[in-house]
């Protein structure tokens, strides 16, 4: 009979950044899901749980020694059907800092043309026994579809115009750290709401946490019946920014600027581009956010974006890595408990 001493195979106990994690584990973590497919359905307690966990990782990431062993021996696959250097790098760093082996897989659309379906891809990857799949796809609902055909944890890194939950979480963490709370804040989300998964996830999260949300855009960039998501829709930027604590700008893609949805870049910038002048309507300490990459001179004046007193854009990038570490940690809790 072979005796296996499980103790010896346990990874060394992580030193920093896990006080919150340890506490959460001690009294049943609120977030106990295997997947993070969206913000929809998450409770305020689950969101707080993830943000608390992320707070710990922010401190860790600022130290010179950043590596933990939490996910040692685990495999994380970044599966991106749509290119995104920033999000992919952020997840890659998050995985590596937790000790996971990270593989990046860029699936060009051409392989879809070659006939492999999303479900084929899912089953192929599943056979490689990854522990976490981070997936971005250009179609709404595609990540949830894939999750039904694999056994590992699945994290949605953006699906079509549906959701981008880690972006909403990192935005929430940025807000909470700067403003000390989310409940009661007035948040104006401005720009291409229609095509934006960032807007949808943020609306869901901010509403769950008790913020007031306004969406500001021309009618051609607002989804039908957007008020049903619990937001106020405003087409006048000045009115939309009134008394705002947070101004969240969205990227407008170039193919949508040339007359199809807005007449021109200069007209869009005139009415909806964020300038210091328009910003006067907001609270004096209003914070400016942007999920990146920015179009300077389209949705945001470069001077505003670079104003370190107002802009939290680089904070967001920093929080992104911490939030993704928290999500990787939380979604693999069950897996690690089984080992």
């Amino acid at each position: 009979m072979i005796r296996v001493t499980t103790f010896a195979r346990l990874p060394p106990r992580p030193r920093a950044g896990t006080i919150a994690a340890a506490m959460a584990l001690a009294n049943e973590p609120a977030f106990a899901r295997q997947h993070l497919l969206g913000i929809e359905g998450l409770s305020a307690a689950e969101i707080e749980d993830l943000l608390d966990l992320a707070d710990g990782f922010v401190e860790l990431n600022r130290q010179s020694e950043k590596k933990l062993q939490l996910l040692r021996g685990r495999t994380l696959i970044n599966l991106f059907f749509e290119p995104s250097t920033r999000t992919q790098t952020s997840f890659e760093l998050a995985g590596k800092r937790l000790g996971a082996d990270v593989v990046n897989m860029a699936v060009a659309r051409s392989s879809v043309v070659k006939g492999e379906t999303l479900i084929d891809t899912a089953m192929t990857l599943n056979a490689m026994h990854p522990d976490v799949l981070v997936v971005r796809h250009h179609e709404s609902g595609a990540v949830a579809l894939l999750a039904r055909h694999v056994r590992c944890a699945v994290i949605n890194a953006g699906d079509g115009a549906h959701e981008h939950p880690t972006q909403a979480l990192l935005d929430a963490l940025t807000i909470r750290r700067r403003k000390g709370r989310i409940a009661g804040l007035v948040v104006a989300i401005c720009g291409d709401i229609l095509h934006s998964r960032v807007a949808r996830s943020n609306i869901l999260l901010l509403r769950t946490m008790g913020a007031r949300v306004r969406v500001v855009a021309p009618p051609t960039l607002l989804p039908r019946a957007v008020e049903s998501l619990g937001v106020e829709a405003v087409t006048d930027m000045q009115r939309g920014l009134e008394d705002a604590d947070i101004v969240m700008m969205l990227r407008l893609q170039s193919e949508r600027m040339q007359g199809s949805l807005v007449p021109s870049v200069r007209e869009y910038f005139h009415f909806f581009g964020l300038t210091h002048e328009k910003l006067r309507a907001a609270k004096p300490d209003a914070m400016i956010m942007h999920p990146g990459p920015m179009n300077r001179g389209v949705e945001i004046d470069g001077v505003v974006a670079d104003d370190i007193n107002r802009s939290a854009i680089l904070d967001q990038v920093e929080m992104g890595v911490a939030v993704r570490m928290a999500v990787l940690d939380a979604t693999t809790r069950r897996l690690r408990a089984q080992a």
Partner: protein, 433 residues
Amino acid sequence: MSRPVLIVDARLLDPASGLDRRGGVLVVDGRIAELGPQVTAALAPPGSELVDARGLCLIPGLVDLRASFGEPGAEHKERFESGCLAAVAGGVTSLALLPDTDPPIDDPAMVEFVARRARRAKLAKVHPQAAVTRGLEGRELAELGLLKAAGAVAFTDGFKAVADARVMRRALAYASMLDALVVQHPEEPSLAEGGVMNEGPIASRLGLAGIPAAAEVITIERDLRLLELTGGRLHVAHVTTAAGVAAIRAAKARGLAVTCDTTPHHLLLTEAEVEGYRTFAKVSPPLREETDREAVIAGLVDGTIDAIASDHCPQDQDSKRLPFAQAAFGVIGLQTLLSASLELVFAGRIGLLELVRRLTAAPAAILGLEAGRLARGAPADLVLVDLERSWTVTEKSLFSLAKNTPFEGRTFRGKVVRTLVDGRTVYEAHDPL
């Protein structure tokens, strides 16, 4: 010729004559020789088959205004044999096939091919509809006269709307000379383009591109104005919105020669079925809001909507197991057409005889078919229905090659137990008891 059949002790339901009473039907040489309360077992001619239909309803075979098979071009989705078996198992004895095949039915030889293939399947009677425009491209008129002479019962571009107003005007005008029926898919393509479900709160939350309800009424109103110019007959396929129903109600009040239909899925389901990105709920036109569904039921009840059609559209697994936006449109519906429609009767929304009319005599009249009634001399296309028997829609219970039903798992009350076409039994339910 098949031997005589004598069905006795049934509840005879014939909407065309208003008949609803206990009695029997004698079938000789494929036609109804005698029917009524006086037809009893004592009348049985020598060598005839006697069917005791106690507790069952006898209705005319259903006439389905719109169904698609996969032949030619997509035989893996549906063959004539599988599609016709699904039809007769659902009580459908006549169906009008759409021309969206590959190649499309826009040539007299193709019309003859369909008729020949259907005869070989020897189940339901299949009537080809032909394209209004060559290649279903919406530009040049197809040979409507020659196609009609070859047997086309109506003209439509199937799942595509005739988008160009001038082409539609000419189609209606030319068809009026032939007394031919033009059937329109009511959807303004430029508004629907890229859309995958009904536009509204659910589409906005799911991040799916929507098709506005207005896309339907815009095409309906335009076509009604054209019909006023041209005369002739227009049939609006699958009306699904409150505004669409209202437009047709007003046109009928003005005396225009317009008819329309809707489908069981638009009568029973709403856009909420799409939640969770369920591609079996992806259908064209899309499932709508509850207020639209209610308006469509009201339209059916007050006679604005003349008929219920299955809009049977088989899709294989590979076309549906995809991200929602990439999945194919369409649901199957031949086998569930009667059972699903009966839900409205059991819910007290419409009388049994009236519902049966919308599935039999009404669509037969729209297509000008000798079908859909119980009458002396009429073809013996008959269906015995057990209104007390329930059945559950499962992959196994469906005869279609494709299984893309939006009603999977649903238990319906009312089941077809036997179907006759021209006096020949083509389907008999195997009693699970």
